[in-house]
């Protein structure tokens, strides 16, 4: 009962935050909406029992990515912004066809998944995988993508420095 209330509260917060990201006229307000959305998402991870993922969500996304966003916005001192949507015939055409495509994709998704039995309850706060289990899997079966990701991170760090250098 209380888990259901928490789920609906966090889900509504996440969706409102997501809408705020794309609808707020000022960029800094968009970042704050993204912060709200990601905090709610971390709460949903805890609700699903993925405590480690929730921890990394807070540390990486909120602690690193969002701070970087805010830093760049303050650095550039943006004045512009706002939602300028050109209301032409092609806008309605493209928007309508995208909406139709979305309905088709969701329908296909549902058709392929419907009838699959997923046992268990998502909102019981029990840890679905312990840190020990995750670490053993990460460093035995998935060691190759782990190492490749570390190489990619190094390349991205060097690339970011070179690109932003004058």
């Amino acid at each position: 009962m209380i888990e259901q209330a928490v789920f609906w509260l966090l889900g509504a917060t996440m969706i409102v935050g997501g809408l705020g990201v794309i609808l707020m006229p000022n960029t800094i307000n968009s970042v704050m909406s993204l912060l709200l959305s990601m905090l709610a998402l971390a709460g949903i991870y805890v609700l699903m029992g993925a405590h480690v993922v929730a921890l990394f969500q807070v540390i990486i996304y909120i602690g690193a990515v969002l701070v970087l966003f805010i830093y760049v916005i303050m650095l550039l001192n943006l004045k512009e912004g706002g939602l300028k949507l050109p209301m032409e015939a092609s806008t309605y055409l493209i928007g309508g066809s995208s909406l139709g495509l979305l309905v088709v994709v969701v329908w296909l998704f549902w058709q392929s998944l419907w009838g699959t039995s997923f046992r268990g309850d998502g909102g019981d706060l029990q840890a679905s995988a312990t840190l020990h289990q995750l670490a053993v899997d990460l460093f035995s079966q998935h060691i190759l993508i782990f190492e490749l990701t570390s190489v990619l991170l190094l390349v991205a760090a060097v690339g970011a420095i070179i690109i932003s250098k004058k």
Partner: protein
């Protein structure tokens, strides 16, 4: 709550991110829309990991988070150099390719 609750939440968040990517002009907001889409995929991965009793979903979420951090670092470096070059971040005004 069933699996479909979390799946629907992920689909809604992905749609919001995709629409935001299409309708906004500001480059930083475009990057944030990409972040929203990545987050929704993470949510769906964790939901599958939860309901199929596996750890792979959560491990892929860690990898996606790392890739997202790298992407944001490079993307914001590109944003800074675009701002230096054009003096604006409005992508409808940046048309070197005359598209």
């Amino acid at each position: 709550m069933g699996f479909y609750h979390f799946l629907s939440l992920g689909i809604i968040l992905f749609t919001i991110g995709a629409v935001g990517f299409l309708i906004r002009n500001n480059t930083i907001v475009l990057l944030m829309s990409v972040e929203l889409m990545l987050n929704s995929v993470n949510l769906i991965f964790v939901a599958f990991s939860r309901y199929l009793y596996g750890t792979e979903g959560q491990i892929y979420v860690f990898i996606i988070m790392t890739i997202a951090a790298a992407e944001v670092a490079v993307g914001l470096a590109i944003v800074i150099s675009i701002y230096r070059l054009f003096g604006t971040l409005d992508i409808s005004k940046i048309k070197l390719l005359k598209g």
